[in-house]
């Protein structure tokens, strides 16, 4: 019971981090937020009712390494290499984003209540946090134009799906996690290459410059 209680405390930090990510323009802060979310999502199975075997323990630890160290470090390296500190290219202002985020958190809570998901594997906040992460990631993808922030938003969305998926598919746990990992690892890696190419072809990472192919 205590473990589940701790899980909900961790998830409330994740919810706060989403709020924070909607109101910041600093890239390093954004990366740290996605690291926090990635770590909480990776350790979630430890706190749930399912018993842990040695295999799943090793798997969880490797996911933690990749989500918590490898991917953020590689994005951080790109940011350092390009010498960008702030991402100021936005479609929706920070105050409006923050207001939307608050609505999103409330809406996610109501939705999980409506679908009787307030006690999902013993955790009260798990489903609503997952919905907030998925929808929040989607919102940031539309509201921000900086390519790095868009990649981070995509990772936030993946974190949400992972949070929902990992405990659900206890039987097929490995394959689901493997899939998400492949997605995040390879997807982000290729996006990283694209980021460098955008930087080389244009002066900054504002995706509004990619407008040659409009009808």
């Amino acid at each position: 019971m205590d473990m589940i209680y701790s899980m909900d405390i961790l998830l409330s930090f994740v919810l706060l981090s989403v709020l924070f990510s909607f109101s910041t323009s600093r890239l390093v802060v954004m990366i740290r937020i996605v690291v926090l979310q990635g770590v909480v999502v990776s350790v979630a199975p430890f706190f749930l009712e399912d018993s842990m075997t040695a295999g799943t323990l090793v798997f969880t630890l490797s996911i933690l390494t990749i989500r918590g160290i490898v991917i953020p470090w590689s994005i951080y390296a790109v940011v350092q290499k390009m010498g960008i500190k702030r991402a100021l290219e936005i479609n929706v202002g920070y105050h409006a984003s923050l207001f939307f985020c608050l609505l999103l958190i409330v809406g996610a809570q109501m939705l999980s209540l409506k679908f009787n998901m307030m006690d999902f594997r013993g955790s009260t906040l798990m489903v609503s946090t997952a919905i907030t992460l998925i929808m929040g990631g989607l919102f940031l993808l539309m509201a921000r134009r900086n390519a790095i922030v868009m990649v981070l938003a995509y990772m936030m969305m993946e974190n949400g799906i992972s949070l929902l998926g990992a405990p659900l598919s206890a039987g097929a746990h490995t394959i689901v996690e493997f899939g998400i990992l492949l997605d995040v690892l390879a997807g982000v890696m290729i996006m990283g290459i694209m980021l460098q190419s955008i930087q080389q072809k244009y002066v900054n990472l504002d995706t509004a410059q990619l407008r040659k192919l409009k009808e």
Binding site: E158, L164, A172, G179, A186, G187
Partner: protein, 475 residues
């Protein structure tokens, strides 16, 4: 061992990265031949998979695999000549990625596990991205960025749908492997609410990759910016792979008695795609983008036919096969036109019949086949869908379907006739010789489509019927 069919191109693709250029081209064609032989063996002697929980040959998968295999071989033959004048600097990356792309698409057709299918479709995005970016121009960069981002988000939605499918099992107290075949068997026991939610997310996810409107925005860019052989693969077979994901999920829906729910979604998005394509084809200025929009139209037709069910589902599968054959031939031919005129603009192309008669024959026949002229397969497929939709009593939808077909036909034929028989613009580059190798693959593709209309082997017909029957389809 079934898995060998996707392992061969995978290992070949890796090997090509380290081979000299000419050897890489030969290696690619050889792999195409081996792949086609392995696929043909499946028709004669069905193989069991080593990992039976994950892989299985199903009728729709076998049909798609056969189309992929034939197309790849012909496209790889064309590519060997195309690479001579295409200014692709990293040729090994191109040929290697084409082979890895073939491997991942083969994986899609053979996957039975819902997550393996998802991983395979995701892998097709990753292996095809270098093909679109290969020229490294700002336009290619933009197309690749859009492709990666929009398709990744779409695929993430499909992942969420797959996760919700496990929730539908959980709530319905079903404890079986998460495979399409097993789920279809116990579909009635799955929780209907979560099953519907799963279908919606999977549909939106794979529908993005299939190019259905309004999630289609990446498609015209990616298909027009990729080199022609890659465009032919993207349009001819990748879209089919995404469709397979939707088709198999729809099978579960039909088995669960929720076919009308999924059918309405398929028909709605199908019509929306056709209308979107009609709008853009009419005022299109580039011929390769026009072909890309035509792919959106055809995917709309296929989704619509699948949603109609019955005889329409049979028509949809016919359209799927013939669209692959015809559209890939048109994309290859567009590469020839670009080589002859050095432009993608419709206004800068004219008198194709006089300047490049062999190319014009392939281009115009491809257009006639795609526009639904008899006796080509698209005509039969579309006719069956129209009969199906009338039988189902959806008259307003039938009207919109026929209207869209007419608008697209008018727009398409106007542009093609202008290019083929209109006056040639001034200051054209010198005429280039049309080598047999640059037109024969297109002729072979069109001929295959034509032969399948007048003579279809029994086993092939039966396989199409088996695929359609799973959705209440057939005559």
């Amino acid at each position: 061992m079934l898995e060998i069919i996707f392992l061969v191109p995978f290992l070949s693709g890796l090997a090509v990265f380290f081979l000299p250029k000419t050897a890489g081209r030969v290696w690619m064609v050889l792999t195409g031949i081996i792949h086609l032989l392995l696929t043909a063996r499946l028709w004669i002697n069905p193989q069991a998979a080593m990992f039976g929980d994950y892989f299985r040959v199903c009728p729709e998968g076998l049909l798609s695999l056969s189309v992929i295999s034939l197309l790849f071989l012909l496209i790889s033959i064309y590519t060997t000549e195309y690479l001579n004048h295409s200014h692709i600097r990293h040729e090994n990356i191109f040929t290697g990625s084409l082979l890895l792309f073939l491997s991942t698409m083969t994986l899609v057709t053979l996957s039975d596990h819902i997550m393996v299918m998802w991983i395979a479709i995701e892998a097709t995005t990753l292996t095809s991205a270098p093909l679109i970016f290969i020229h490294g121009t700002p336009r290619a960069l933009e197309a690749t960025w859009k492709y990666l981002l929009i398709c990744s988000v779409g695929i993430a939605m499909a992942l969420l749908g797959s996760v919700l499918m496990t929730l539908a099992m959980d709530v319905g107290h079903v404890d079986i492997p998460v495979s399409f075949s097993a789920l279809t068997g116990v579909a009635a026991q799955l929780d209907p609410v979560w099953l519907k939610a799963a279908f919606v997310f999977i549909f939106v996810g794979y529908g993005t990759k299939m190019g259905l409107a309004p999630m289609h925005t990446w498609l015209p860019d990616a298909h027009s910016e990729a080199p022609s052989p890659a465009s032919a693969m993207l349009s001819g077979v990748l879209l089919n792979c995404a469709y397979l994901g939707i088709f198999k999920t729809n099978k579960i829906m039909v088995a669960a008695g929720l076919g009308s729910f999924s059918g309405m979604i398929l028909m709605g998005f199908g019509l929306m795609s056709m209308l979107a394509a009609a709008t853009f084809i009419i005022r299109q200025t580039e011929y390769k983008r026009m072909l890309a929009y035509s792919s959106i139209e055809n995917m709309g037709i296929i989704a619509f036919g699948t949603g109609v069910g019955g005889i329409g589902a049979y028509g949809a599968i016919l359209c799927l096969i013939h669209h692959s054959l015809i559209k890939s031939s048109l994309f290859l031919t567009s590469g020839n036109i670009n080589a002859g005129y050095n432009t993608w603009l419709i206004d800068r192309v004219g008198n194709l019949a006089g300047r490049m008669p062999k190319t014009c024959t392939a281009f115009f026949s491809g257009f006639a086949a795609l526009a639904g002229f008899p006796p080509f397969g698209m005509f039969i497929g579309e006719l069956l869908i129209i009969v199906g939709v009338f039988r189902a009593g959806h008259y307003p939808m039938a009207a919109v379907f026929i209207l869209s077909l007419c608008i697209i036909f008018a727009g398409f034929s106007n542009q093609i006739i202008k290019m083929s028989f209109g006056d040639a613009p001034e200051n054209l580059p010198n005429e280039i010789s049309e080598k047999a190798i640059t037109v024969c693959p297109q002729y072979a593709l069109l001929l295959t489509s034509l032969v399948l209309c007048v003579w279809m082997p029994d086993i092939f017909y039966q396989t199409i019927m088996d695929a359609a029957k799973a959705m209440g389809g057939g005559f």
